[in-house]
Amino acid sequence: MTIHLSIMLWLPAAAGALALFLPARLARWTWLLGTLLVLAYSVVLLFDYDRAAGGLQFVTDELWIPSLGIHYALAISGLNLVLLATTALAFTVAAAWYLWDDSVERPGLFALLMGLAQTAVMGAFMAQDLALFVVFFDLMLVPFYFLVVIWGGPERREAVLKLFIYTLVGSLLMLVGAIVTGVLAADGGAPSFLLSDLADFPLASGTQAWVFLAFALAFLIKMPLFPFQGWMPDGYRQMPIGVLAVFTAILSKVAAYGFLQVAIPLFPDAAVRFQETLMILAVASIIYGSAMAFTVTNARLILGYSSLAQLGFIVLGIFALDTRGADGALLQMVTHALVTVPLILIVALLARRAKGSEDIRDMGGLAFRAPAFAAVFLVLTLALLAMPGSANFVGEFMILLGVFETKMALAIIASIGVAMAAVYALRLYITTMLNRQGPDTDSKEMTAREALVIVPVMLVLIALSLVPQFALRPAQDGTRESLAAAREVLANDGSVAESRVEARR
């Protein structure tokens, strides 16, 4: 029992609440300081986590709502260790970005909402209780709603309603699924939502099927994956850019993490049953996302559709139900987040140099007088297209390796996506930075402030490319554990749940 995780979890919200009552300048610094402290905390955890022992560490477990059996249970595991550090880094970058962005009025409120968002995201990562996970997962959306409503683009009204309703359909069905899981697993006794308790009592496979689908729907909408991306284009266009960076990089990962942490270990029968469906959706996303990414001209949407494709890879890796695929997926979650955050901010940099337009047709030749900017952008572009040598390549390679073992045909189709990624990523880079200089553009070098926000993330990404094992090793334990039940089902070619339910009676 430690208090470390609670401190780390609530620190961003507390810093935000403090910022609310401070004058503008001070509010921005308070927010940044809060995120930096969390980042420091997460770095300490990275080194303090006993990798040899694995499992759940730094466990906090209190009964929160006794009559409903909901625990306030947090822990660090191999699965969430690196993701938490990534989250902390992404939010720190966002806070640093807004340090010098004066377009944001009422920065105190902004900081509070971003702080709440960070708390909710980290809560979802840390939660070891199904109900708590659902609470944080749903809560995540609320601050983003206000961030878009107050600071979003001109057409935010419809965009935000669409975003909220789309994602809540999934989330609330997931809530029902979670409650049914808890109540049925208790079998008439006092319910408990602790993941460790629930994993011991799998549901009958019929119930598993629809509960799993409820969870899957919530996760797929949140990512989003084809065909649930309806809210994405409008939502992406209207979001403030720093908010979008965090949203794309981190929230989609919470959903992917949800599969590994909750859906697959708790509903192994259903996971095996719907394995092919999800893999086909994933491959469809890869193709659709890549195709859209080289047709649309809005730079944000290019990155949006690219992340649709990347999430396709991640889901594909997870549902290969093979530890290598899942390890690759987890690494890909981290590297994709690390590449998305700076790239989205680069969209803002591009817009600053193209009279505010985010349309790549209005850009061109921006590298002319900006060699450093061009270099940074190029490194990130190459990481996005998973150039061999980058950590992204390692992730994609492992995913495809895992899929080749299980579903050869799908792996072949998916590898087309790797080639397509090169096409859209290079198109983005070439049309904006090279080509003939656009009429209304102004090729300026990166300012020191811009560099200070973007370059550190790039360095982390490069470091991770050199030693991907640093992120992979703790993940391996975690994925093995989370896939164990599903692999057992695969091995027995059928249901384990029934036999376990029988054994319990």
């Binding site: 929160w64 709502i65 006794p66 009559s67 409903l68 109900a131 609470v135 944080f136 749903d138 809560l139 609320v142 709603y145 206000f146 409503v149 107050i150 935010r156 009204r157 935000v160 309603l161 909220f164 309703i165 809540l168 359909v169 609330l172 069905l173 809530l175 029902v176 409650i179 049914v180 808890g182 109540v183 049925l184 008439g188 319910p191």
Partner: protein, 514 residues
Amino acid sequence: MSALAAAVPAAPTFDWAALSPLLALLGGAVVVLMVGLAGSEFIRSMVVPWLAMVSFAIAIGCLAWQWNTTSLLIEGALIMDPLTAALGLLVCATGLVASLLAWRDRAAREFAHGEFFALLLTVAAGMFVLISARNLVVTFVGLELLSLPLYILCASRIRREHSLEAGLKYLIVGSVGSATLLYGFALVYGATGETGYREIAASLSASGLVSDPLLLAGLALAVVGFAFKASLAPFHQWTPDVYEGSPTPITAFMSVATKAAAFAALIRFFDVAVPSAIDFWRPAWIAIAVISIVVGNVGAIGQRSMKRMLAYSSIAQAGYLLIGFVVYTDLGIEAVVYYLFVYALANLAAFAVVIARERETSLGDSIDALRGLGARSPALGAAMTFAMLSLAGIPATAGFVGKFTLLESAADGYAWLAVVLVLGSVVSLAYYLPVVSAIWLDEAEGAEPGRDSASGVPALAGGSPEADAEPPTDGAGEAAFVAVVFGVAIIFFGIVTGPLYDLADAVARGLGLG
């Protein structure tokens, strides 16, 4: 001598202590009415409302004093148990808040303070009787004691056409509901020969006459009557008009307290008196629950008037509450009681903001009055936001925990009803979120008196814009105070769930459905 003694029926024994909350309310009504006759304007407009509030406070104090008592009152006509205590507390607290909100309201001034507050106290007394009744006749008496003064209060804005229309409409529809219920009760009495709830249950289990047509007809009529009173679809048509036309403090009071009292009566009648006929009444209530969720949520979409929107929302919320009732378990009762409290928090916060805006602007209860509120007065904006999010069931608000409890009660066996509930919640975002967007997204519009009256009052509803456009008045301060208190409470009870759970748990155990 002894023959004489035997001839005089023994006077019923009174447990005065357990009866004290009811006496406080009735006594308060008498005192307020008398003081209201005073000639001094100061006494009428200042002392009378505060006397009413004191009466409610005394009633709350008496309830707290009798908190752990379980006793039959007046020969078993009423019962003081945790259900009475909990929902009586809800009614009295709501009455206290409504009195504070009505203190400087136009309705109280136009109608005369004495009568207004005396009627309000009488309504609360009627609710208390209804909640604690364990007898067909007393239930009906309580129902009428609450309904008749409420009809008058709805019409108490006597210079406003809308208000009179609301009162009249409520009177007519309410009377139909009462008559239906009374007919149903009469048939139940005819079938069982008993009026006491426990006696009816005993008689049914002894005779095994559960499928007796007389009883079933009686139950069918009782279901309809209760549905009228609790404004459940398809018996809800009066609700939006009455909510909109009534003075807003009264709307706030009836949206919360009437619902609590009606659900208490529902629980007592169906769970205590006729549980053996559950196979008959459960499908009926399930159908009504589903219809209410659909009708309420669909009807609320696109409403410009906050009061109409909250009226439809209350129909949907009553549908959610019914789910906890139909599952017929301890957890279900716990969920109903818990949800009634969180619903009260959210509704009172929302209505308090509406009242504050009615008094500050000339836009009435239109959603336009809320535009830009977040920038101009963040505290009010936040209170309304929390209220809307709580009603929608977003985490970190009390409403989420309430919904979670309802879902958990339905999870085993009625999972499809849980799905209906969450789908209803998703639809509800289509009308709760525009309110939040209006508060935080839209620029504030200048609120010159009279300018926006045309948009503030829907002309179709028969309003004459000239008569209904009202200049700002004072009294926004206490409304803002109430809004902020309840806004904070919504978040507090969303995180600290213990106190309300203990209360709901005590109620459920007190009833002991098993």
